[in-house]
């Protein structure tokens, strides 16, 4: 019997359509009523860009003006990882080295691309200071490299202990937090970079975040994804 997932019953659909239509009209009206050429906070950001320590306004917003947001956002990532890990607690096998069927072509691809991805990630990180790029984009590329490796049968190297893994997952956040608190010793507020050291600290934080984000994304994938071989192996054991 074909498994299909059809829509809800007609009354639900009609009600949903009515609700959605209502919101659609509301939104459209609101958007079209917007005044043209509203500057928002852009001029303020422009004015303070010099003092932020970086040249790219988005990076300045993310790491300095609204660095607190970014810090909490990394916490969201860490939380999601913990959440995914908590779903696998009862499945201790998940973190054991997984050897997927090795395909020479795929393996060659991974071995070829992964280091290049690292280089490109580094570039994006560097570029973020003055151009589009930054920790998150760079971290995503690293994460993609990890996912590619994982899909190609490269399991977690044995020297990466569980603690090390946790450390690298939480590391970016802890480092950010550490810097945020650390700068308070210079007399400023939370996350108030002392004059002159803003750039250095932002770079430091971004670098650590990149590594951490990469690790988190890989962990999210590995911990939540369920390699068929692995599941079958466990099933055998349970029998």
């Amino acid at each position: 019997m074909p498994r299909v997932t059809p829509m809800s019953p007609a009354p639900v659909r009609i009600a949903a359509a009515a609700i959605c239509g209502g919101f659609g009209v509301l939104l459209a009206r609101a958007l079209l009523a917007l005044p043209e050429d509203e500057a928002g906070l852009a001029p303020l950001i422009e004015t303070n860009l010099e003092a932020s320590g970086v040249k790219h306004p988005i990076t300045a917003v993310l790491l300095n003006f609204r660095g607190y947001d970014t810090m909490l956002e990394i916490a969201v990532l860490v939380l999601a990882t913990i959440g995914v890990l908590s779903l696998t607690v009862a499945r201790p096998g998940t973190w054991a080295p997984v050897a997927e069927q090795a395909d020479p072509v795929l393996s060659a691809l991974a071995r070829f691309l992964a280091p290049i991805m690292l280089v490109v990630a580094g570039y994006l990180l560097w570029a973020g200071e003055h151009a589009p790029g930054g920790a998150f984009q760079a971290g995503s590329v690293i994460g993609a490299a990890g996912v590619l490796l994982s899909l190609s049968g490269y399991a977690r190297p044995v020297w990466v202990t569980r603690f090390a893994l946790r450390a690298v997952i939480a590391g970016g956040f802890v480092a950010f937090l550490g810097v945020a608190i650390g700068v308070m010793s210079a007399g400023g507020a939370l996350l108030e970079y002392p004059a002159g050291s803003a750039k250095t600290l932002i770079v430091l934080v971004e670098t650590l975040l990149t590594i951490s984000i990469g690790a988190i994304l890989v962990s999210l994938f590995i911990a939540s994804a369920s390699p068929a071989e692995e599941l079958r192996r466990r099933m055998e054991e349970n029998r």
């Binding site: 498994r3 043209e36 852009a42 917003v61 956002e73 999601a80």
Partner: protein
């Protein structure tokens, strides 16, 4: 800013964002399968981001307002996190119950009940 039929490019994308948001909302309500629900939420958030970036374009001059961009970047991270977690949750549910719907009633509709 060039306009076309009274619309600017900004309006076009912002309206598209609104449409995506609403489409996602509709899908979220009407599609029983969890994967569809997750996709629906992702589409909705894409819509919200489009609205935000559309708003950022309203700044006079070629360079858009960086603040909404930063907000969208933060939002994307949040969306990725929640998508990953929601998918892990959905898969756990599937493993645990044999299907990926919230209401057992939906099973008949999905035809999953018939499975041995």
């Amino acid at each position: 800013m060039t306009t076309f039929a009274g619309l600017s490019q900004t309006d076009l994308y912002a309206l598209a964002g609104a449409a995506l948001f609403v489409i996602g909302l509709y899908g979220l309500i009407t599609r029983p399968h969890l994967l569809h629900k997750v996709l629906a939420l992702n589409i909705s958030s894409g819509g919200v981001f489009l609205v935000l970036v559309g708003i950022a374009r309203r700044v006079p001059g070629p360079v858009p307002d960086p603040l909404p961009h930063a907000m969208v970047l933060t939002g994307i991270v949040v969306t990725v996190s929640s998508t990953a977690f929601a998918l892990a949750l959905a898969k756990s549910i599937y493993t645990e119950t044999g299907h990926a719907v919230l209401e057992p009633d939906d099973l008949e509709e999905t035809g999953e009940v018939s499975r041995g």
